[in-house]
Amino acid sequence: MAIESLTQPISRPSAQPLIELRGAGVTYPGRRSPALSAFDLAVRHGELVTLTGPPGSGKSTLLSVVGLLLRPTTGSYLLNGLEVTRLGDKDRTALRGRLIGRVFQQPQLLASRSVLDNVVLPLLYAELRRQQRSTAAAAALERVGMAHRMHALARELPAGEQQRVAIARAIAGNPSLLLCDDPTATLDEPAAAQVIGLLVGLHKEGTTVLVATRDQLAAAHSSRRLVVAPIGSGTLAGDLSP
């Protein structure tokens, strides 16, 4: 499968890609047709890549594979040169917790907990002391401009701010890779613009960002490289670089 890409110079070029999918495919149990079929993708360190395509094209499945939440049923996945498909759950969880940050379509915040508690959540598993966790979470909230609401309950925030808190949670552990699954889908235009701006800013700070979105415009505004996801087993690739 060919993947068309527009590659602009990246800030930290690396010899080997951070993400390398080789013919990765996923077929869910009980389904005949694959959700993702023989997909190739290579993302280098520091890149901002937008993955776009129509609903059902397999974007979320692809992100789940890249985010180590799903194992590809065919093909292989190399993360920074390491074949991770057959790693045990403990190792995959360690990689997921330490290297990968995730932003979901919905903010997925613990509504009855404070903003700070939500951002601290992934740091609980990172062997940090309470004070270190709070400091890191406060710094992440500062980066997304939400430090002033850190003691508010998550349910009290508007949707745009909730998504910014979700981004803060994703970057609190300084991950090498940030995966965003349609983060602007539930937001109005100004909020979506803020979120896109945040992701671009994180990319400029050196974080590798992979965004899946249906919003072509958002994709066009954010991405340095754009990959159009295939639908099922067909291949549809395009170039929509800005």
């Binding site: 985010g67 390491l82 997921r96 330490r98 290297l99 979901f104 997925q108 509504a111 598993y125 552990g173």
Partner: protein
């Protein structure tokens, strides 16, 4: 860099797991209350059942205390080689009376001689086949009574020890003993057989031709029931008339001791030493079998019944906690999926759910133990019983609640730990 990091799995400190569990409980107090309610009720019932077992056991003990043996009987193991000697030294009764728990003590023996001792209401005892015996039926009956009426020699202390009650007349006492008075008491059965129904007039019985004035009719005795069929005369009178008890003729002198309830066992151990410090083993000590074994059986049955009820309630409570926790875990599957997605291992999710369940169990256990104690007091007061609460059943109850909660949380926790984040993260979190 990645390879190095892989070797270091994510970790969750125990303090953080407990802290997260506490925060989750406080964030949803209503849900916590519903989950704790099962533990509360089952621990309350468990404590109540155990407390009622102790209380009922106490009641059983109290009820049986009135039926504990209060008499001890001491007799020589074998007949004395010296026929004219009493086996008990002088002052035995006084020394026994000084023991703690002893109400009264006295010596007695059946009056047996080498020949048959005949008791008669007339100077000449009637014998079978005599011409007077053939005169009529009444005379015949009296003759039979005369042959069959046993005679006992006893000290006044014996009368007190046997708790003798009279229907008429008086008991003999120290004065009668001192003066070897020729008096006697007739048991109500013996008196009837001998034709004595009242003491409005002076009545005399001839015991082996020795006239003795009947001074009282014994209607009741708590010990030595044969006394009601006997004629009893002072031991000093018996010795004066017929000499010391002839043990070879079967007149074995014994000591009857009456004790306070519960003291019989101790008195039975001490009495032989009080009588003879040199040879306490020459005496045979008997006391009526107490209801202790029966009491213990009843108390044990009651206790085991309440324990069984307690354990059944605990099992039901644990199942109810498990079901509520299961529902809670299913409701929160998106949260656990999120935790898995951000670095929690299956073990961490398991620890999180079990901690939460154990803390809820602990809270329920604390409240349940308090409620259980209150229930025991209320129920005991309502029945007029003395509430007995064993600290060993109440103090560990909260820990028992925590253990039940922990146990109940294991299966839901295993379910939570197996949640696949990719499947649950499409749902929105409602927590």
């Amino acid at each position: 860099m990645i390879r190095r990091r892989i070797s270091r799995p994510t970790r969750l400190r125990l303090a953080d797991a407990i802290g997260e569990a506490c925060t989750a409980i406080l964030a949803k107090p209503a849900r916590a209350m519903v989950t704790s309610l099962g533990t509360l009720l089952c621990v309350a019932w468990f404590v109540t059942a155990l407390g009622l077992a102790s209380t009922a056991g106490g009641q059983v003990t109290s009820a049986f205390a009135h039926r504990l043996p209060t008499h001890v009987l001491i007799s020589p193991k074998r007949a004395s080689p010296a026929p004219a000697a009493m086996p008990y030294p002088a002052g035995t009764e006084q020394r026994l009376g000084a023991l703690h728990g002893v109400i009264a003590a006295g010596v007695f023996w059946p009056l047996r001689l080498r020949h048959r001792v005949v008791v008669s209401a007339r100077p000449q005892p009637a014998t079978v086949g005599s011409p007077r015996a053939a005169r009529g039926r009444t005379a015949d009956n009296r003759a039979r009574a005369a042959r069959q009426t046993p005679v006992m020699a006893a000290s006044p202390g014996f009368l007190a020890a046997a708790a003798v009650k009279l229907s008429s007349g008086r008991l003999f006492g120290a004065w009668d003993q001192a003066h070897r008075a020729q008096v006697c008491l007739a048991g109500v059965v013996a008196a009837r057989a001998l034709g004595i129904s009242h003491l409005r007039h002076q009545r005399t019985l001839y015991i082996d031709d020795v006239p003795c004035a009947v001074i009282g009719i014994i209607s009741r005795a708590n010990a030595r029931q044969p006394i009601l069929r006997s004629v009893v005369l002072p031991s000093a009178t018996a010795i004066a008339q017929w000499g010391p008890p002839d043990e070879r003729a079967g007149a074995m002198p014994s000591v009857l001791i009456r004790t306070r309830p519960g003291a019989a066992r101790l008195v039975a151990r001490q009495a032989p030493f009080v009588i003879s410090q040199d040879r306490p083993d020459q005496f045979l000590v008997r006391r009526p079998p107490g209801p202790g074994q029966l009491r213990d059986q009843v108390a044990a049955t009651l206790t085991s019944l309440f324990y069984a009820l307690g354990w059944v309630s605990l099992a039901i409570g644990t199942l109810s906690i498990a079901s509520v926790t299961w529902l809670s875990v299913r409701e929160r599957s998106a949260e656990f999926g999120l935790r898995r997605a951000v670095g929690a291992r299956r073990l961490h999710i398991l620890a999180h759910v079990v901690c939460e369940s154990a803390i809820l169990g602990l809270i329920g256990g604390l409240a349940g133990a308090s409620l259980g104690v209150a229930m025991i007091i209320l129920l005991a007061r309502a029945r007029g019983w003395i509430p007995v609460v064993a600290p060993l059943t109440v103090l560990p109850a909260p820990l028992g609640g925590a253990a039940a909660g922990m146990l109940a949380g294991v299966i839901p926790a295993m379910f939570a730990a197996r949640i696949q984040p990719a499947e649950t993260l499409s749902r929105s979190l409602a927590i």
